[in-house]
């Protein structure tokens, strides 16, 4: 009988022993830190649209005023870094590709346009390309950080495709420029 009890205890011990290391690994703690739960990230733009009307081939268009056309305001309570990103312009199935290098000579048979921004008080005529890749907004080659309640102004320049295929004539192409903010 004694042997039986010892065997049962041994069996229970065997059951428990392998499970111990697994239980220890379950005790890891996850910490979620919401850095300042009350931090709010918010920017506003005082312009929403840029209606160019009818445009011609291979022509440059600038916002009016050139450098202070749109104001970005930091309405949150943390300093932010700014980013910018462009898109292809479209009308139904028609597309103007957004240039990656400032050229407008087309991609295959698809017309290509280019877009730039100019930050107010940057050196005159200094424009930076807007591409499909989101990049930080720069002034004088330096990334822009916008302090709380601070403002920054910019203007845009557009170069239309060097030629419009017949099916593009009279079509209203639409695009978007996204201005982004992230905690600095």
């Amino acid at each position: 009988m004694k042997t039986g009890i010892i065997s049962i205890l041994g069996a229970i011990l065997l059951v428990l022993t392998p499970s111990l290391p697994a239980s220890a690994s379950d005790s890891g703690t996850i910490t979620i830190t919401m850095t300042g739960v009350e931090t709010i990230i918010s920017i506003s733009l005082d312009k929403a649209s840029w209606a160019l009307g009818e445009v011609t081939e291979d022509a440059e268009y600038k916002t009016d005023p050139e450098a202070t056309w749109c104001t970005i305001t930091n309405e949150g309570n943390v300093n932010v870094d700014l980013g910018v990103q462009g898109e292809h312009a479209v009308f139904s199935t028609l597309t103007w590709f957004l240039s990656e290098d400032g050229t407008n000579d087309g991609v295959g048979s698809v017309p290509e346009y280019a877009m730039w921004y100019h930050i107010a008080s940057d050196s005159e005529g200094s424009y930076t390309s807007i591409t499909l890749t989101e990049t930080s907004m720069k002034k004088g080659g330096e990334s822009i950080t916008l302090d709380v309640a601070a403002q920054k102004q910019f203007g845009l320049k557009l170069l239309t495709p060097d030629s419009f295929p017949a099916e593009y004539i009279g079509k209203e192409m639409t695009t978007h420029i996204t201005i982004s903010a992230v905690k600095a």
């Binding site: 499970s19 830190t33 739960v37 982004s180």
Partner: protein, 156 residues
């Protein structure tokens, strides 16, 4: 949007973390906002790019927020149970954009900084299962042996 930054630490592969984001609609009309992940144009020092956006989910993915009001979105970060994802430091951004876009669009990002723990979480507890099987076998043997012994004692 708030908070501006979320740090998750000690998340073991195989585990998930859940937190909430608040979206403030300062406009005078209701707006639908779309949430998405994005890869940073610059990361915090020592942080690598987040390996797979499908590990992050939003509930809901789109949210309508009434004028001058706010809404809440639940974010879940689930790391697959593979040891190779242990002890990593990643950064990914969570973006909120209005569904209806004009020419100029505003996009706000929350910085999400995820650090995983050193040990991968065991999936099914294989140690426990093997232990139970061995225990049951031993117990059966003990019962069988005791009965056999008792039987042989009673036999003349």
């Amino acid at each position: 949007m708030s908070p501006a930054e979320v740090r998750i630490g000690g998340l073991l592969p195989g585990e998930e973390a859940v937190f909430e984001l608040t979206i403030h609609n300062h406009y005078d009309a209701a707006h639908t906002f779309v949430l998405s992940t994005s890869h940073p144009w610059e990361r915090r020092p020592g942080r690598a790019d987040f390996p797979d956006d499908s590990w992050i989910s939003f509930s809901p993915q789109e949210i309508e927020v009434a004028a001058n009001s706010q809404g809440t979105v639940k974010v879940t970060v689930a790391i697959p149970s593979k040891q190779k994802w242990a002890d990593r430091d990643w950064e990914v951004w969570l973006g909120v954009t209005p569904e209806e876009k004009e020419f100029l669009v505003v996009n706000c990002y929350v910085r999400l900084l995820v650090s995983t723990g050193k040990e991968a979480q065991a999936g099914p507890n294989t140690g426990l299962i093997v232990g139970i099987v061995i225990g049951v076998l031993l117990l059966s043997y003990v019962v069988y042996y005791s009965r056999r012994k008792a039987k042989s004692k009673h036999q003349p």
